[in-house]
Structures are given as structure tokens and as C-alpha cells.
């Protein structure tokens, strides 16, 4: 068994690009769901709009990188308005239904034949990350210690990614400590009560939807920049549900929950997968074949989360007292 491979891939998973992408998606979901109680099941759509906004602006229209970023962010804000205006006045479950449907519609538009000229159909778009790597200040080489480390391209992406994560966490920390965040948390508890105290609930819900969507959109950028491409099917409902899993794993309404949740999530995911593969290859496990490792990995990760919810329903950082209140 190649323990070194298992170890390095696991360590890389803890700080790798997946943590950046899903951590940002989860920070957004945490603002929506954890703090405001909004059930946005279309987080993948915000990421898709951002990724495609960047790609199409650069590849199809031929505008510079920064314009692409602005287009992606504007797309996320627009999507939040589009989803929020008709649904935020309604009961919470309507937003869930509308967002999950809207995310699918957006994915299908991106992969549709009719817009193949623009979005590239099911192949998506590629070739838009050169500008990002051109401003890479790190010279070519290996960045890390011993077997652990990344090449200069990945290292550059991770530095920018982790700085972005840190900034987002700092923003969430400041906001949620403030009276603004207090209104959001109060809306999660009971929006009628908040209305009766003179707060414009609709406006706050919209601000929350936009903020969480924009932070999710940053995750969409990093996905595109790392992989050098965006394809429609990447931004399926699975991406959104991974983000929710991460939020619950880390502990809802906790500033660092999404980041640590994403790290734990990907470590488990990668470790279980590689461990099983190696064990099967080495002949320690004979009941499954190597092709069955993929699905079984999902099953085991799922089992892990069920156990988590049974034994630590508040997540890693959550407060047990808060969960107990739900039972009252």
C-alpha cells in the first residue's frame, strides 16, 4: 500500500482548490441558510453565472480579465434580484423551490444547443485563465515541504484563494457581530416579530441573498481558474448540496464553520477514496473491485454525516444549547 500517496493527497485535499471553491460556496450558503434562514438551493447557479460570466467575457467577447470578473459579479447580483424579488415576500419554502428550479434552468441554458455559440454547449468554455496566471508573481518551481507542495500555478491560485477565504470570513465576522447581522439572525427566528419592530425584512433578505450569492460566485471564479474551463454539468445540484453538507458539518451560523467544514469534507472524501483504492489494489480488501470504490466512497461519506448528525447535530463549531432550543 502506498501510504505516502494517501498521505500527500489527503494533506493537499485539506488546503487544495476544492476547499477554496466549496468553502466560498459554503460561506455563501451559511449567510443564506445559517444566518438568515433562507433556503437557497441554487447556490450552484450563482457559481455558474460567475464562471460563465468570466469565461464568455474573455473568450467570446474578447474583453480583459477584470471586466470578466465584474461581469461575473454583476451576473450574481442580477440573479439574486431575479430570484429574490418574486419569492422573498413569500414563505421560505417557495424560495427553495424557485432556486432549485432556476439553477437547473440556468444549467440547461448554458448547455443548450441554441446558445452553443456563446456558452459552448455541453463542452463549456475554456482558455480564459491565461491572464490570471500571467500576473503570477511566483517563479516556476515547487512550493512546499518535501512530498507536500504545489507547482507555481496551483500555489498562486491557492494563495489568492485563501486570501479571499480569509477576507470573506472577516467580512462575515464583522457583519454578524453588528446590528445588521442581528437583524438577519432575528429574521431566521421569526420574521413577523422583526417586522413588528420596524425592520424592512424584505430588504435584509435581499441583501443576504445578494451577499451570499456574490461570495458563492467567487467560488465559481476559482473553479474556472483552476480547471481552466467551465462546463454546465459541473454546476449541478450536487455542488449546492455539497455546500449545504459542508455548512452543517462545520456548524451553521459559525464564521469559520464553512472553511473548516470544507476541509474536513474534502479530507474525508479524498482519504476514504484513496485509502479504499490502495487497499483494493494491494489486495487487503477483496469484497469490492476498484471500479466500485467511487460509489462506496460516497456511501461511506454519507454514513459519516449521518453519524455526525446523530452524535453531534450542532456540527463542529455549533452550540449544543442552540440545538436543544429547537426541541422546546
Amino acid at each position: 500500500m502506498d501510504w505516502l500517496t494517501i498521505l500527500t493527497t489527503t494533506v493537499h485535499a485539506a488546503i487544495g482548490w476544492e476547499v477554496v471553491v466549496y468553502g466560498l460556496a459554503a460561506i455563501g450558503v451559511n449567510i443564506h441558510f445559517g444566518y438568515t434562514g433562507l433556503l437557497n438551493f441554487g447556490q450552484a447557479a450563482f457559481m455558474a453565472v460567475a464562471g460563465y460570466g468570466l469565461a464568455v467575457t474573455i473568450v467570446v467577447i474578447g474583453l480583459p480579465f477584470w471586466v470578466g470578473i465584474l461581469v461575473g459579479l454583476a451576473g450574481a447580483v442580477l440573479l439574486a434580484l431575479l430570484l429574490g424579488v418574486p419569492t422573498l415576500r413569500l414563505r421560505a419554502d417557495y424560495l427553495a423551490i424557485v432556486t432549485i428550479a432556476a439553477a437547473e434552468i440556468i444549467r440547461l441554458i448554458f448547455r443548450s444547443v441554441a446558445f452553443k455559440e456563446t456558452f459552448g454547449g455541453s463542452d463549456g468554455r475554456r482558455g480564459f485563465n491565461n491572464d490570471f496566471y500571467e500576473i503570477n508573481p511566483f517563479p516556476p518551481g515547487h512550493y512546499g515541504i518535501g512530498p507536500f507542495g504545489f507547482n507555481e500555478r496551483t500555489f498562486w491560485l491557492l494563495v489568492v484563494g485563501w486570501v479571499t477565504l480569509a477576507v470573506c470570513c472577516a467580512v462575515v465576522y464583522l457583519l454578524m457581530k453588528s446590528p445588521w447581522g442581528r437583524v438577519l439572525k432575528a429574521i431566521r427566528e421569526d420574521e413577523e416579530a422583526v417586522r413588528s419592530l420596524g425592520k424592512n425584512v424584505f430588504s435584509y433578505k435581499m441583501q443576504s441573498l445578494i451577499l451570499g450569492g456574490v461570495i458563492g460566485a467567487l467560488g465559481g471564479f476559482f473553479y474556472g481558474l483552476y480547471n481552466g474551463s467551465v462546463q454546465p454539468d459541473v454546476f449541478g445540484t450536487e455542488m449546492t448540496f455539497f455546500a449545504y453538507t459542508i455548512v452543517i458539518l462545520g456548524g451553521a451560523a459559525r464564521v469559520l464553520g464553512p472553511v473548516v467544514g470544507a476541509m474536513v469534507f474534502w479530507v474525508l472524501f479524498v482519504f476514504i477514496g484513496n485509502f479504499l483504492s490502495e487497499a483494493v489494489r494491494a489486495g487487503y480488501i477483496t469484497v469490492i473491485t476498484e471500479t466500485q470504490v467511487g460509489p462506496i466512497r460516497y456511501a461511506l461519506v454519507g454514513l459519516g454525516f449521518i453519524l455526525l448528525l446523530v452524535f453531534r447535530p450542532q456540527g463542529i463549531f455549533g452550540d449544543k444549547r442552540e440545538i436543544a432550543l429547537d426541541a422546546r
Binding site: 457583519l175 446590528p179 445588521w180 427566528e189 413588528s196 419592530l197 425592520k199 442552540e322
Partner: protein, 312 residues
Amino acid sequence: MPDNQTTTRKAAALAAFQGLEHEPGVAKPDAILTADNVVRRFGGLTAVDVGHVEIQRGSITALIGPNGAGKTTFFNQLTGFDTADAGSWSFNGKAMNGVPAHKVARSGMVRTFQLTKALSKLTVMENMRLGAQGQKGENFFRALIPGSWRGQEDEITKRAEELLVRFKLDAKSEDFAGSLSGGQRKLLEMARALMVNPELVMLDEPMAGVNPALTQSLLGHVKDLREQGMTVLFVEHDMDMVRDISDWVIVMAQGAIIAEGPPDSIMSDHRVIDAYLGAHHDAPLSEEELQQQLHEAEAALEAEAAEEEAAK
């Protein structure tokens, strides 16, 4: 001297009602809230159909009526929590129909809920702070700069602490509101409403589910609101309490206002008795009627017994 003031405020309120007719919709000398032809239907059911009503400024007015009379629904219309099918109402002379709930609250008309709405996962103190108006830190961009709202937050906290002491919740200040008992939640909701600095406080059954000892202190608080110059409109079923604290009583039944009057005489109003007991209980039974009903019942019983005998 608080005692002196108490008597003057109460006296002033009572004087305002002196000599008013005991008719529904009677005009008050200085109305803070006026409503006209407010109608709310749920399908075929007309839950509220109020022709005209005025609430006297600086008084404690009770709104009573049997279950399902439409009191809560009427509150919901006035405070913007529901959209009336028809009607207009004004607060301090400003039209309020169609105004969304948060703007109603901002204009100084604050309500509490029959089913208490404590914000469970916020602490008692955070619940209180939420009530304060015009908070700089509630703006997204200012929220990011703690220095821009800290000072105001401290003032708000101080005011909240004072109120919590008055409502005997100061020991619970850092507990989750969700951990409070039912009665304590009622207290918190009332205190939180006061953080808004309202002119008119509308309390929907503030004493429901509160133990008698706490009720006494709640009653004290409600009277206190009038002493501070606020107007109170409250819904209550317990007539002893209504008699104790209210200056004027408005009676609702089947959506309409059927009577108004001072608390000590309102319950003897025949329209009110009809509303509570049903119209066929119209007047108290006379001696003969009572005898006759008794005979009828006896006869029916005897007939039944005889039938049973025959069947055997």
C-alpha cells in the same frame, strides 16, 4: 412624585371618557387612532367589519370579545400584518391603510402577538437591542466599521438594561430567549416592543398563560406605560384584569364593534351579555319561565322512563 403623577395621568384619562355615550364608534376628545369601515373576509367568513372606532390618546383601552370575535384579525389589519379588503385608518392623523408593517411600527404604533414571538436563538439582550430604531449599524456598509455604531450600541444597551430591570429579566439578559418560560417570554416581548419607543402599544393578550403573581407585575407595567405618556390598546379575556387597568372598554363580536363603555358597567350592557352568552339568553329567566322549563324537563324524563318500562 410618581404617586401624584399616577393620579393625574389616570384622572386625565378618565376625565376624557366622562360623559361619552356608550355607543360603538363614539367620538373621543383626542383620538390617536381612528378606523373606518375596516373589512376583512376569509372566504365566506367576515372576520372583521368595523364601522368606526377611535382610541383615546393617553388612555388604556381594552378590546374584549368572545373567541373568534376578530380582535387579533383587527390588530393585524391596523398594524399592516394583513391586507384588509376595505377600510381606512389613521394614526396621529396620518393615513395608515396599505402601509407595510415595518413602517407602521416606525411611525410609533407597535404591537405584540397573541402567540409570543421570542427570537429563540438570540439572547434576551439581543432581542431587546433589536427593538431600537434608527440604528446606524443596521446599514450594511456601516456594519463593517464597528467604530461607526459602537457608541450608539452602548446607549441602546443601557436603555435595554433599564427596561430589563423593570421587567425583572435582568438576570436572564445573556440567556437565549428560547430558554425563557412562557410568562417570561410575554414580558420580554412587551419590553422589546417598548425599545421601539412607541406612542401606541397594542398588546394581544399580554396576560395569557402568565401566573397570577407575574400578572400583577405585568398589570403594573401596563399602567406604567400610561404614566409615561403612552397609549395602550390591549386584548384580554380576564374581566377582573380589564376592570383593574383599563379606562375604557371596546367590545367586539362577530367582527363588529357592538358596544363601548367604562369597565365597571360594560359587562352589564345587554349587547355584551348577548354577545358572550348568545341572544336566546336575552334577559335573565323569570321565576315562572324557570319553573316551566323545569316541568318540561321532568316531563321529558318521565316519558323516557315510561318508554323504557314499556320496552321491557
